[in-house]
């Protein structure tokens, strides 16, 4: 019996039961002695009084089964799903993380509250949890997704941005299809780009802009429909200042192509040009304070970032110079080969850089619309598995790795007339991707933010960076941040910050004073994107199959009011029955 019944009253069981039992027996004995009508009723009334009094003093509990599990309601929860869960699991309890909805449920103010109840969450309903909150749920759970969010559900920003470079922002727009959606990108100088998206479902989009100056900029992404315009969110753009590099141009004889390329690169970089006039005689030009030996030495190759020449010129170098150049490329130097006088890219004692396929076409079109122009090329196109092609010109330019350096090739031979015609932008678009891809990178230890965009206040922001120091120091908005070194990789440090407000923040690395700008979006921005990410993250953690809620034994107190009523009715009966007689 005690397995199913317990007492929670302030008095011991026997201390209550024994006096009541004796008292009841006495009353019953006296009543049986007295003559009178309604005797059985009087006995019953005495029993009622005794039971009521016992219940009041003993406060009995009985054993029952109850659910200890939770349903976590997140943003986007469908009420029908909640109702269904209530019907099926009547005892289950609800935690509410969706603000301003389901007010009768238990609300959680912070995801950290899940740390305590994380083992008992069986269902997550709605768009799901942010990445860091999923770590609090330590049990298996069923994720009951709401319908996919509409709007911009994916966005990707380029890693590095430089002045006047064409920067592309691509993403995915999930539209309803009932009306066209206009995506507008606004920058500090006004509207930068826009496009119209028709049709339902997810549509990939790309918007472009150019920032003219280094600095931190905010670009606003807007969505305009027939119903009006709304801001999707702010896109941060940290435009970095471009550093001048050392470029070496070697040529067997002067050519217009390299002359104009020299002028183009010379507008920013240090350029060293060596043109052969005759055997053993060279014309050497130094642009913008470029320095270097006339002879190609290891030191020159280590200092330079890019060499532009042709195979014919390399073949005319001394064996030592050719070896030093190859060694320099393998150590990270960039090399661009031009067709030159002979379009062959075979270099003596070098591995074959490229496979060239002869073609009949010796021109290629570049540009768009009225800006479309034809450019003369060598009658070859690039081929080969190792080739990584760059830019729009399929098979006309490309590069491949040689050691840690890269060897690129440009088969367009008549690019300088573009400058003469005033099409400098097209000229730049022709050379820019190749040179950027091939040039030796500037090695540095920049902080890499590993948390995905967008970041929100109150959410963790993870980062890592390389440092050879034993105890590097990092400051987040002048607050010192604790760091931990990776257990497996030496010099790889990781950290987490919790931005408290939206806007720009800064990570400052003390050893090299390098600064990393981080933008934290306000909570109202990028809603669809955040929901989509939460859906995918929660889907990975959760299960699509149903997880049965686990039951638990509970001692349920019998309502004391019942015993009070029994006592009252017994007393009333004892008072009333003599009157009836």
């Amino acid at each position: 019996m005690w397995e199913y019944l317990r007492f929670s009253g302030p008095f011991p069981f026997l201390a209550v039961v024994m006096p009541l039992f004796i008292l009841s027996l006495l009353v019953l004995w006296f009543e049986t002695k007295r003559d009178g009508r309604f005797q059985p009723l009087k006995l019953a009334a005495v029993l009622l009084v005794a039971i009521g009094a016992a219940g009041i003093f003993l406060r009995p509990l009985y054993k029952g089964t109850s659910s200890r599990d939770y349903v976590l309601l997140t943003q986007g929860t469908d009420e029908a799903v909640v109702d269904s869960l209530k019907k099926i699991h009547s005892a289950i309890r609800f935690l509410n993380a969706a603000p301003d909805r389901f007010t009768e449920t238990t609300r959680i103010a912070s995801w950290h509250e899940l740390e305590e109840k994380g083992k008992r969450i069986r269902f997550v309903v709605g768009h799901g949890l942010p990445e860091h909150a999923t770590a609090f749920i330590k049990s298996d759970f069923t994720f009951m997704k709401s319908s996919p969010p509409g709007g911009v559900v994916s966005i990707s920003l380029p890693g590095e941005m430089y002045p006047d470079e064409k920067i592309e922002v691509s993403g995915l727009l999930r539209g309803s299809g009932t009306q066209p959606v206009v995506l507008i990108l606004e920058g500090p100088a006004g509207r930068e780009d826009s496009l119209v998206v028709y049709g339902a479902g997810a549509t990939r989009f790309t918007l472009r802009f150019r920032a003219q100056q280094p600095g931190r900029y905010l670009y606003k992404l807007l969505v305009r429909t027939d119903a009006g315009s709304s801001v999707v969110g702010n896109l941060p753009a940290t435009v970095e200042e471009r550093q001048p590099i050392d470029v070496i141009i070697l040529q067997s004889y002067p050519s217009f192509e390299l002359q104009f390329l020299k002028q183009y690169l010379g507008t920013m970089h240090r350029v060293f040009v060596r043109s052969q006039l005759s055997k053993g005689r060279f014309r050497t030009e130094y642009l913008n304070g470029a320095e270097g030996d006339v002879n190609l030495t290891k030191a020159v190759m280590e200092r330079a970032e890019l060499v532009i020449t042709d195979a014919e010129t390399i073949n005319s170098l001394s064996p030592e110079e050719s070896r030093v150049l190859l060694q320099g490329v393998r150590n990270g130097l960039g090399l661009i080969l031009l067709p030159g006088g002979q379009p062959d890219t075979k270099i003596r004692n070098w591995p074959q850089p490229f496979t060239l396929i002869p073609v009949k076409k010796d021109t290629v079109m570049i540009g768009a619309g009225k800006q479309r122009v034809s450019i003369k090329t060598a009658p070859f196109r690039l081929s080969g598995e190792a080739l990584i092609e760059t830019g729009l010109l399929n098979g006309v330019q490309g590069y491949r790795y040689e050691g840690t350096g890269r060897i690129g090739v440009q088969l367009a031979t008549g690019t300088f007339p573009l400058i003469l015609r005033g099409d400098s932008a097209i000229y730049s678009s022709l050379w820019y991707p190749l040179i950027k891809s091939v040039t030796r990178p500037a090695y540095g230890n920049k902080v890499i933010v590993t948390s995905r965009f967008p970041h929100f206040p109150g959410e963790p922001l993870n980062f890592r960076f390389l440092s050879s120091g034993t105890s590097p120091e990092l400051y987040f908005d002048s607050v010192h941040i604790p760091l931990r070194e990776d257990a497996n990789i030496d010099g790889l440090w990781q950290g987490t910050v919790w931005p408290s407000r939206d806007g720009w923040h800064q990570l400052l690395s003390v050893p090299d004073s390098s600064r990393t700008d981080i933008f934290v979006s306000s909570p109202g921005e990028w809603q669809a994107l955040e929901h989509e990410f939460r859906r995918s993250i929660t889907s990975l953690r959760g299960s699509a199959e149903g997880v049965r809620p686990k039951g638990a034994d509970v001692w349920v107190e019998v309502n004391p009011l019942i015993f009070y009523l029994l006592l009252l009715s017994g007393c009333a009966a004892l008072w009333l029955i003599p009157k009836l007689a």
């Binding site: 430089y162 006047d164 064409k166 500090p188 100088a189 150019r210 003219q212 100056q213 280094p214 600095g215 931190r216 970095e240 471009r242 550093q243 590099i245 020299k262 183009y264 010379g266 507008t267 920013m268 970089h269 350029v271 006039l277 005759s278 005689r281 060279f282 014309r283 050497t284 030009e285 130094y286 642009l287 913008n288 304070g289 970032e305 393998r330 150590n331 062959d344 002869p358 070859f380 050691g403 840690t404 400098s424 932008a425 000229y427 730049s428 820019y432 991707p433 950027k436 040039t439 030796r440 990178p441 500037a442 090695y443 540095g444 920049k446 890499i448 390389l466 010099g491 790889l492 720009w504």
Partner: protein, 742 residues
């Protein structure tokens, strides 16, 4: 509830008042909206509507009050309700002042009025008033959408100025009167501007009169270039002449001794443009033969911003050929109008080339010139040159003197024209001569055609008959070949050394390869492996060796191709089939002949003469290595603005930037230069910068954003130059690479 008679009448009076007032309001409302619309159309101030409102209000109140009294109601009842027996007046009189009979009648009338009261319909024009209101409202809404502007130059100019202006004066400046006097020839006249910002024609004299609400001294007008004009006199007046857009502000010393200044005001000076000439539907190159219509109608549409003062045609007749080409220039007036005037002129001229003295083979070049009425000197503009060529088919000798300076064509072989004449003669005589003779003469003509082809082929570079080897098959033709060889020896230049012979064989082989390239591509692997051939310039290739420029060569090749066909038909004894080819050959040769007449003055580098004793000696003693140091950096056009953008970025992000003021001050200098070129675009930027600089302690971020936006637009994009990408590199990676590449 029962009412007495007077109460009924008062109720009716109130109802009548309501009706009258409503209809009056509707009428007035309609007129009000219509008036507003008209004022908007004619660009007048809405203040003009105030008198209308006052007058209409007075009329409405007096009219309504006049017709809505008890007497009027009683009169209406008596007139329209006979049941009251004309006794409704009694209801207005106090009962104690009535006789007994009158009282009885009053009672009776009162009862009857109570009975008929619900049926009383007071007179009103509400539907009409509502219709008028709706109609006028519609007209008022629709009317402004039509362009009812009176095409008045002055009004257009005035409205343009209003758009440009609309800037408020500072509180201390009570008025700023601007009087613009444009040059007389513009017809613009003299205007007093209502706004300190204004537009005016080039060369206008502007006079300012400034008056201040308080004491002011040291008053200046400061202009864009930094020029200052002291505003002199009691009324503070100054004047200046403008030839380009500018801006200015008023500066004065107030009572507190501080030098104050107004916002910037733009002066938009519209330059006097040269006339524009359009010649529609007239081809730039026209070729006519003598048999064609030799009169052309030339229509020219000439427009100018003020007035076209003169227009004429300059025609040049080119006669002769070779070195004896003569030019004669004439000035032709238009037939209509002879003396042009007005902003737009549609001029017509009939050009008769015969009257101009053109003969077959001559050419006419002409262009149209128009001048405006600008003072002191007119501005002229002209069209491109149009060409009319009168073809001459009689002379077919090819002249190449325009290229080489000497006539290389020999005179002693039959020309194409002669072959045509002989072919036509042969066809005419066909019936009267023997068949053998006909065939013989046809064959001879074919031979002549061949000789002619060879001769032209020589000029094209076909020094030998590389292309005709395979077509010569018949024995008869082989016989001709022997003769042809003689002919080629006679007319061509023969290389007698082995080296040249070898060189001339190469094209033939190449040509053969070209013929069979598709079928035997596998046999030419060596050639494919040697891509350098594509880049050689083979001097002994017939395609490359020629005296002619590309267009002539193409046409000459076409003529040679036709000569093949013409010769074929002649040799097949079908001169009638050969003739169409011969006519086409003649036409092409004539075109080439005419082309060679065009003379272009040669310009370019005159290289110093090479010393003969140093030629081909291989002496490099004077060729030395050189080192040249240059600066190639291209400075930005607006460096201060670019710097300011960066500083503004930080300031907008909330950082304290002490150098902001100095950066803006420097950027303002560049913006002011840009505002001179385009005041409408950059003057407000200058004003915004000035407002920030005037109150540096309370800088609003939205102002900084505006300035940044304008500075970015001012700086504009530049051509991007690639550099090094940034990349993280672990020290272990570096060590690994060093080990990998020792």
């Amino acid at each position: 509830m029962k009412r007495d008679g007077l109460q009924y009448i008062q109720l009716l009076r109130r109802r009548l008042f309501f009706l009258r007032a409503t209809e009056g309001m509707l009428f007035f409302g309609g007129v009000f909206f219509l008036s507003g619309s008209l004022l908007q159309i004619f660009g007048l101030s809405y203040l003009y509507i105030i008198p209308l409102v006052i007058v209409a209000g007075v009329v409405l109140i007096s009219r309504v009050s006049a017709v809505t009294n008890n007497a009027a109601v009683v009169a209406f009842l008596n007139k329209h309700h006979p049941a009251l027996t004309w006794s409704a007046d009694l209801l207005l009189v106090a009962e104690d002042r009535l006789s007994l009979m009158q009282r009885l009648q009053r009672l009776k009338t009162q009862e009857r009025l109570a009975q008929i009261y619900p049926e009383v319909r007071l007179p009103h024009r509400l539907p009409k008033a509502a219709a008028v209101f709706v109609l006028f409202l519609l007209v008022a809404v629709v009317l402004p959408s039509f362009d009812l502007h009176i095409p008045d130059q002055d009004k257009d100019a005035a409205s343009a100025i209003q758009v440009a202006g609309a800037k408020e004066l500072p509180a201390e400046v009570s008025s700023l009167e601007v009087k613009v006097t444009a040059p007389r020839y513009t017809g613009w006249g003299e205007k007093v501007m209502r706004s300190p910002e204004f537009a005016a024609p080039e060369g206008s004299v502007v006079n300012w009169k400034v008056s201040f609400s308080g004491p002011a001294k040291n008053t200046l007008l400061v202009f864009a270039e930094g020029d200052t004009v002291h505003v002199a006199g009691d009324k503070f007046s100054a004047s200046r002449k403008f030839f380009r857009s500018s801006y200015y502000f008023v500066s004065w010393q107030g009572a507190d001794g501080q030098q104050k200044s107004s916002p910037f005001y733009a002066i938009d000076i519209s330059p006097d443009l040269a006339p524009e000439i359009t010649i529609p539907e007239f081809p730039q190159f026209t070729e006519v033969s003598v048999n064609d219509r030799l009169s052309f109608s030339l229509k020219a549409y000439i427009t100018d911003d003020y007035s076209v003062a003169q227009a004429y045609i300059v025609a040049t007749v080119s006669k002769g050929s070779g070195e004896s080409v003569k030019f004669r220039e004439e000035k032709l007036l238009f037939d209509s109008p002879v003396a042009p005037g007005g902003k737009a002129v549609s001029a017509v001229k009939s050009i008769d080339v015969v009257k101009l003295g053109l003969e077959p083979g001559d050419e006419l070049y002409f262009y149209v010139v128009a001048g405006d009425n600008r003072q002191p000197g007119p501005q002229f503009s002209r069209t491109e040159t149009f060409f009319i060529s009168l073809l001459d088919t009689a002379d077919v000798s090819l002249s190449v003197e325009g290229v080489l300076g000497v006539d290389l064509m020999p005179e002693y072989f039959r020309s194409q024209r002669q072959i045509i004449i002989d072919s036509e003669k042969l066809l005419r005589e066909k019936k009267v001569i023997l068949e053998s003779e006909f065939k013989g003469r046809s064959n001879e003509l074919g031979f002549d055609q061949k000789v002619l082809r060879l001769k032209y082929g020589e000029f094209l570079g076909e020094e030998f008959e590389s292309a005709m080897v395979q077509t010569e098959a018949s024995p008869a033709d082989q016989a001709h070949d022997r003769e042809e060889k003689d002919v080629t020896e006679k007319f061509g230049h023969v290389h007698d050394d082995e080296e040249n012979d070898h060189a001339h064989e190469q094209p033939a082989v190449a040509q053969e390869d070209e013929h069979h390239g598709h079928d035997h591509s596998g046999d030419h692997g060596d050639e494919k492996q040697d891509p350098l051939k594509e880049f050689y310039h083979i001097h002994d290739d017939p395609e490359e060796a020629t005296f002619f420029i590309e267009s002539i060569r193409t046409r000459l090749k076409a003529a040679l191709s036709l000569m093949w066909d013409a010769e074929l038909q002649l040799r097949l004894y079908s001169p009638e089939k050969s003739l169409p080819y011969q006519y086409r050959i003649l036409r092409i040769l004539k075109e080439i002949s005419n082309d060679s007449r065009i003379y272009v003055h040669k310009t370019g580098l005159d290289a110093p003469p090479v010393k003969e004793d140093k030629r081909l000696t291989g002496d490099l003693s004077e060729t030395k290595s050189s080192v040249d140091r240059k600066a190639g950096l291209v400075p930005p056009k607006y460096p201060s603005s670019l710097k300011a953008i960066q500083i503004l970025n930080n300031a907008i992000a909330g950082e304290v930037v002490p150098e902001l003021v100095e950066a803006l001050r420097r950027a303002a200098g560049e913006v002011s230069a840009a505002a001179l070129e385009d005041p409408a675009r950059y003057l407000h930027t200058l004003t915004t910068i000035k407002s920030v600089l005037d109150d540096t302690k309370n800088v609003r971020p939205e102002l900084l954003r505006l300035i940044r936006k304008d500075l970015i637009n001012l700086a504009g994009p530049s051509v991007p130059v690639p550099g090094s990408p940034r990349q993280n590199l672990h020290p272990v990676d570096l060590m690994f690479l060093e080990k990998l590449n020792p």
